[in-house]
Symmetry: C2
Subunit: 507 residues, 2 copies
């Protein structure tokens, strides 16, 4: 591994400033983690203010013209270095973020931040009451703000591009649209074919599984896979997430449903996948913008690879099912492995994205992506959104939400101030997870056999070597090209789904 | 209650700046809380850096000359207001802190902060190895730094005064010395008289009490007393403390020893006392420097009042002992209340301050205070400190530490960069706790009877009304004068000890 140059004085000065900003951002992240795990209700009001304050200080420090000057002064040095040196990469990545940050006025950020909090509050209240009318004005303002945000990035091809680019650098609405169209064309016949079969019996997952025992089992699973508890921990929350405060402290959260074994188990493996990525970054990058996953899509590819390609595979459960049966003998000792395997891979056209299986999941995402584009383009009004949502669920998934709580109001994303940029990463991640997993198997064909034996280090090391260690050094497109020799493609995902579900459903 | 003026534009500007600083400080406190409760080991390196960064940003923002200008601009406004108006009090308290903050150069603060971390690390390693030689150079540097710190406050009477004043505003070494001399003169004969009696049997406290059950019981106790769990929580740590991130989020920590019922129970009540103070501050003060306890001594008076005057009283256990017996029937159902009462009030000349009973405790504190003064005066060299320590323990408490781990290295204070200013508050707090409790009983003679019935609201409300709500509005001296009509005195503490222990030990 290369190390970041500690000698060039301007680079050193830049790094000092970046580390200070990183410290502030890490404190912000801890404020959020605490809010989502342990904070008593009385802390809420001050907590919102504290997070906004820290975010604003970090933004001000990062948009300081002194940063621009340092980047300018460092240009000859950067140009003298190989593209993939750590030093050139740091300068390049910081320049990219800087140019993005200074386009957005500080007072707009503050307005957006305030609106986010208010909109989230309105949604949290309105959703259980199934009251879309109550959030409609917030959503209309969100749409206006997102359009305003895009306007700071003039010269875009599609109004959603600046929003998408913020999460998945280099991606455009047109590219996503065409990839999604291809994927959809392949997926729909598979979903239809499965839908014509009897629905899998997953009743074995819906017995009573005590919370503490589920948590203990999940922790045991991820410890065996390779999550480093010296540099992380798991806590309970309402909506599971991964967060980190340094490369040495990468935490995950989970939730448990006592009548659904899927929930804690697979959310834990999912968040662990995100965490392995962040735990695997080159420690030399600590405190710099290189020390983070490179895009929403690549991040999701790591959570989904471990959750699905590994965690829902038959080989994995050949190894792990005896442990699960030992943990829950009353519930599972009479359930054969094959029944369990089919239960955790049950495919069903359903209403809720986060509960969807890996075959239908991407159809849920595409609905949101298309509706976002229509809203941003001005081709769909917020007041018509619930109807458009329901119509798409009917046509794409053959189900109609009985109410908006489980329809257009189910996901938090639009209600925390983001229309555009937040959903495409899920499906891009699924595509990449299959693409990366194929490449890993090509390089190490023994991986499936190893998984069956409870050995995960070959896969983990391959991912660390090829993806994790680089952090944000390479873009998503560069990582895909380096790892697979190809550009992003739907084919590996389709091959994976055809092979796995073709076998399960005898298609 | 008065409310802080929201109309004077300069005061509003000052408050905006102060709230931003408070937000940063609250984030720092959360970084510390997390480090002491849940942080995995891998987070340590970055965490030290993050706390230092936030402290430095807060210091820089508070020492901004713009604050001086605002304070200057607000002087006529302040002088037009009554002394005890919230507005005048805020300006006064901020001016006092500002004048203190700007005396100390930022680079000195950074040097001190770095040395603190290094010194703590050396102590944490050396203490279990009983290796004073390893910490001696750190302690010598600490002494130099503390003397340098004092030198920024020229014109002091005693070199320890600036250090004492930082924790107990308005106190001087000479005042503390003379109060301590008086107290010592009264305490020594009592301690000697008790020492001539048979030692109390506290074996009932040293059975096995499972951790979870101890924690559950302690929480039940403080909930009944009046700790607000909507605005706080308890977590486990190594060295218990109270911290807060807003008036709405005041947390405590505890530790458990399974073979010692004293530990979790009384540390929980102690920290709860600190927390009731912070939870009881006027919510209008949120985000300003008024929203904190007014001095180290007054803070300690609240933890000790609830721990000792209430929590170790016979009346309290007349109410609470049946609950304790119900929680631990195997251990306590055959132990009479009186045996338990005498066990928790066992007096013994011992080595460890934090385990000391309320009669001998202050002698431990005075040893440290006197040694600190001698070090700062230059009358004692660090290399001679262990011998001086052991000699004082022999003469004052009749015990000699078998090694430095349980002698001069037992307390963390000197090893985290503070010689001077940290110990006097413990004994000042004990004196005040008795003084305040006497005043509360004078105003509400029914309090002991109420405690026996499990009713704590009269006492709690009296403390909130007279002490808590004011936060830092009044100095310690002002609070004592307002509440008791007298100045700080040793007499109530001596009366309390004579009465309680005279009865227990039939003196």
């Amino acid at each position: 591994m290369q190390t970041l140059d500690k000698t060039h004085p301007k680079l050193q000065e830049l790094k000092t400033r970046l580390t200070e900003i990183d410290d502030i951002n890490s404190a912000s992240s801890l404020l959020y983690w605490d809010q989502a795990t342990y904070m008593p209700p009385g802390g809420a009001a001050a907590r919102g203010r504290q997070m906004a304050t820290l975010r604003q200080i970090a933004h001000t420090k990062f948009s300081d013209p002194a940063i621009a000057q340092l980047l300018e002064d460092l240009r000859p040095y950067e140009e003298s270095l190989p593209y993939d040196s750590d030093e050139a990469s740091l300068i390049r990545v910081v320049r990219r973020s800087y140019e993005r940050a200074v386009r957005v006025p500080a007072d707009f950020m503050a307005k957006m931040s305030l609106h986010r909090t208010q909109s989230y509050g309105a949604w949290a209240k309105a959703r259980p009451e199934n009251n879309f009318a109550a959030v409609q004005p917030y959503l209309e303002k969100t749409l206006d703000l997102c359009r305003d945000y895009a306007s700071f990035f003039s010269g875009y091809e599609h109004i959603a591009d600046p929003l998408i680019d913020g999460a998945d650098y280099g991606m455009k609405a047109s590219t996503v649209r065409s990839l999604f169209a291809e994927l959809r064309q392949e997926l729909v016949p598979i979903v239809n074919a499965i839908a014509s079969q009897p629905i899998a019996d997953d009743s074995c997952l819906h017995q009573t599984f005590p919370e503490d025992e589920q948590l203990a089992f999940s922790l045991k699973v991820i410890e065996q896979i390779g999550y480093d508890f010296q540099r992380g921990r798991q806590d309970k929350t309402l909506h599971p997430f991964m967060t980190n405060f340094s490369i040495g402290d990468v935490r995950i959260t989970t939730r448990v449903r006592e009548n659904d074994l899927n929930e804690a188990l697979f959310s834990t493996i999912h968040e662990m996948g995100h965490a392995l990525y962040e735990q695997g970054i080159n420690p030399e990058y600590e405190g710099t913008p290189l020390a983070t996953g490179t895009s929403s899509g690549v991040h999701e590819s790591q959570s989904r690879l471990w959750e699905n390609q590994v965690g829902r595979s038959r080989n994995f459960w050949k190894f792990c099912y005896p442990q699960l049966q030992a943990a829950f003998p009353n519930q599972l000792s009479n359930v054969p492995l094959e029944t369990f395997y089919r239960a955790i891979n049950k495919v069903e056209r359903s209403l809720i994205r986060t509960d969807a299986d890996e075959v239908t999941y991407n159809l849920h995402v595409m609905i949101r992506f298309d509706l976002e584009l229509a809203l941003l383009e001005g081709n769909l009004a917020v007041r018509d959104l619930p109807e458009a949502w329901n119509e798409r669920y009917r046509s794409d998934l053959g189900v109609v939400p009985p109410n908006d709580s489980v329809g257009v109001m189910q996901d938090v994303h639009w209600y925390t101030g983001s229309i555009g940029g937040m959903f495409q990463g899920y499906t891009l991640g699924n595509m990449m997870s299959a693409q990366f997993f194929e490449a890993a198997l090509k390089a190490n064909p023994q991986i499936p056999t190893e998984i069956e034996q409870g050995k995960f280090s070959t896969l983990h090391n391959w991912l660390r070597e090829n993806i994790y260690q680089h952090g944000q050094k390479y873009t998503a497109a560069e990582i895909i090209e380096r790892v697979t020799g190809n550009c992003l493609s739907i084919n590996p995902l389709i091959r994976y789904i055809q092979q796995k579900y073709g076998e399960i459903y005898a298609l």
